[in-house]
Symmetry: C3
Subunit: 405 residues, 3 copies
């Protein structure tokens, strides 16, 4: 098989392709963020919550680690990545999956002239799921088509999970971002009780506040154009009602949002605004004070071309750094997210903000592990087993955390 064998399929619009990767409602391969409907996001979020809670006890951990002990995962990460790789690794370990990694293409048979499709088909011979990150755009998508063709020919076929392919797609990042946003807007608080809840307290200050994603205001700051995470997340958020999205980035065509992206969001009914700084006013209020959630990103300097460097010299990048003073003006419950890594030299989020309760980014990283574990449980069809065990488990315990899920 070669790239051109898949060409006619690749060229179709995403919406048309999605059914290829599912059987009825059920996802078989994870290729695009847009495969995640609100109901799938809810289902995976519930599973992630249950895994998270069960993992607090040794007994729960042991139950989880038995679930997929008979399965083997291949982590094929030829593009450098630590966070995605390690959280998938940890997610596999939580569920008992055996892991094997291939990271260095120089140790692979491709140096002997092997086609990358032969390599992935070989992985599918030995392992039960292939989680892959590649520099080559659409490579994961092609592998999913190959697996579909093999299944059709009654040959061995395994699920493909796209762990980030080139600049185009990173669906599991979008999933963990959605999970983090859902958790932030459930207003869980460890001191919640029948007498007191944080949400009730917040409502005294913000009377219109609702739980959930509908009606929320999201800010996105940084490398809007080149960051696939913002694009994917915005797609998923656009499925919710009455959502606003404010974008803060330099007014440079390589960095600001594309007109196609703006149009897509507007078409889906999103209230879109582009601003030049956190202080720019929207309906007469500085943008920073309006946000329910602020999604910061790193400027991906490794993608700068020589001609860009000159252009970028003229830009005042200080507008795209968060500061403790800005954070102090944000809503008390607002959630600050960052897909990480953050750039210590640039300082889009200085470490002095880390201790603020609005800083959700380390929790977000950990959520990546729970969300990916939920996804694996779903793909191997053990999420119902988790639900059953969880319900039995919570009936037996009266853990104060239970209500919070």
């Amino acid at each position: 098989m070669e790239f051109y064998d898949f060409e006619s399929r690749l060229e179709r619009p995403v919406k048309v392709k999605i059914p290829d990767f599912q059987t009825g409602e059920r996802l078989n391969h994870i290729v695009f963020a847009d495969q995640f409907t609100t109901s799938t996001i809810d289902r995976l979020g519930r599973t992630a919550n249950r895994i998270r809670l069960l993992a607090k006890s040794t007994e729960g951990c042991r139950f989880l680690s038995e679930l997929l002990r008979h399965k083997r995962a291949m982590l094929y990460f030829t593009q450098p990545s630590t966070r995605t790789f390690l959280s998938f690794m940890a997610a596999c370990q939580i569920l008992g999956l055996s892991c094997t990694e291939v990271r260095d293409p120089s140790t692979s048979s491709e140096t002997k002239g092997e086609s990358p499709y032969d390599s992935v088909r070989m992985f599918s011979s030995y392992f039960d799921v292939v989680i892959m990150r590649s520099k080559v755009p659409q490579f994961a998508e092609c592998c999913a088509y190959m697996m579909n063709d093999l299944r059709q020919a009654s040959r061995r076929s395994v699920p493909i999970i796209n762990g980030g392919s080139g600049a185009d797609e990173h669906p599991t990042q979008a999933l963990l971002d959605m999970y983090t946003i859902h958790r932030a807007f459930s207003f869980h608080h460890e001191r919640n009780s029948s007498q007191w809840t944080w949400f009730d307290e917040l409502r005294e200050q913000y009377p219109g506040l609702r739980k959930g994603v509908d009606g929320k205001v999201f800010g996105f700051c940084g490398d809007i154009r080149r960051g696939r995470t913002i694009r994917s997340l915005a797609h998923l958020l656009s499925q919710y009602e009455d959502v606003s999205m404010y974008f803060v980035s330099p007014q440079h065509p390589k960095l600001a949002m594309s007109s196609e992206f703006r149009k897509l969001l507007l078409d889906r009914g999103v209230n879109v605004r582009e601003v030049a700084s956190f202080d720019e006013r929207i309906d007469d209020v500085p943008m920073i004070e309006l946000l329910d959630c602020l999604y910061m990103t790193r400027f991906q300097r490794e993608h700068n071309r020589p001609e860009d460097e000159a252009d970028f010299q003229a830009i005042d990048f200080s507008q795209f750094r968060l500061t403790p003073r800005l954070v102090a003006r944000m809503k008390s419950y607002a959630a600050i997210l960052h897909p990480f890594p953050r750039d210590a030299a640039f300082g889009e989020i200085p470490t002095t903000i880390d201790a603020d309760p609005r800083a959700h980014y380390f929790r977000q990283a950990r959520n990546g592990m729970w969300a990916r574990a939920a996804l694996l449980a779903y793909l191997f069809d053990v999420d119902a087993t988790i639900t059953d065990y969880y319900e039995q488990y919570t009936r037996q315990t009266s853990d104060y955390n239970v209500g919070a899920l």
Copy 2:
């Protein structure tokens, strides 16, 4: 210990060395393909079949994954290899062995002046089996001698498995090839029943057809001289009765079979023929139409020397590529094998052949996992446990596959 400590032992003929690596009939280290007698091949093949069947059910997988959970394997692969490495990894995981890999010699203590024998002895301190692939010819053999010496001195000693050493030996490849050939010539078919078997159907077309390896015609095509897999496999096949082997390769001394190799096969009673193309006639029939099994190989261009390159320009390599038209002329049950990786640029087997039922090469790759799992089970002496469980298991189930094993 140094290389020269082993020199006198290394210089002996293989036949004389083999007893050093076994106790009675039982193999302790896996160094040479010639250690595998037909009865060991049968025994390992039966174990591989049982593991393969048990692995189809979650219950069977769980049983297998408990067998060697208390053992630890070191995969010491300083020569690049994906297929051998990954299938050993998967084989270990099937049996529950913990795996640790050392692949990059630059992270090792040999940069601090450590002798490679100290390194391997260290591995044997921490792990229960050392599976190794090295660029250095006979290194695995030396390590097996070192382990023998340690055992004699009542020191800790573990099994050594040669996963390919230099150009000389690759015994587990030969094992999986034999396993694949045995399976191909058992004429198993998923529709086999008491009413209909594929073998009976074939016998109407090929009245002389027998099950098993005896009497079969094997073709070997490609890099005969430099490919250790062909040499090892031919050795093992020569143990069977009335076997023919036809070799297709350029008539160049770096590529064609050596006279020593030809003589060895003739001495063992093999019917050997060398031809220049698949169309060359043998007893008036084009060779391609006579084959029961065709073993294709890649030209190992990475071993070309500058002076070879010039020579090779004159060769018409198109004769050593399989085509759909050639496949169409092969016997309907013939098996096409390839040790993989195949060379996508050269195209010794174009992907258009992959869907043909005669294409066994992906199955062959997967068989590597089963055969290596069987070998590990044998070395750790749990193959009888597998047999017991399997017999109990098949008595309880009436799986249609059972008869096929």
Copy 3:
């Protein structure tokens, strides 16, 4: 967080820092060799002995491998190391801990500008212990402070284990050396019985011989100045009564012991002597004949500077190589240790000595695995569970080894 955030804490003397890494007597992070008191060394040694014995049986192995199956370890080794890395890996596997490794910093997000503290905090999000070796002095110490700060802020915090940081500290090497010395001076012998013990036999030849570390004579040979292992081990040994330490090294300021180190040992009541060769007389007896334990080390040529090379040319390094003739003059029960790797080209311990019963260095390497497993069991608080199981287990068996522990 940045290095300077920890600066004021780093600058304090070790003695003052130690309480930061423990709660009461209990160690939370393993940063300095000096954290190990004689009572902790004893406790860990007893646990290591029990693990070692249990690991001899399949049943014991299975018990151990269940203990930490719900925990995940990160092995973050950016400085090359095989022995420490592999023995930690094996130790984790013995206890059932899932392992993930990060060894190549080029695959990490630090290439994207991520602070190393963000990286380690990320590891602590996904894993339950971070075992780290770094080129950067005091980096593990800083990470332990970061974890302390997170704990204080009620955030997730995990134990840090220093697997060797720059030239300054390598606490688990010191621990395994102490464990090896304790075992050597317990005079265990496999033929020990109620009728005969090796110790009683030795006492006929050496009437003053006592079990244990008190009163013993230690020799240290080689790269005294640059070897952190000697320094750490000598610190721990200085806690015992009436200990002598003789140092054999070239009289060069880059290689011989520092005056601070000499003073520290003298202050702790150690009988310190520096000699130029194994034959130099102490109280009229050649030093080699006085030793109970000889700790050999490798000259760390990779740390030579160009100006040193010239200086070192003048030194007669043959004085710092052990020979079979020297070994023959040592006490019959003396223990020869080496932290390994040894330098095959230099030959500080030629392989001809390996078979001598006084050669403990391969056993010492294997002890690294047991001592590290004991440390992990201690940090995760399952050592009492091991003791309980062990006592029950030994009550049921009458294994001849039992008495020896």
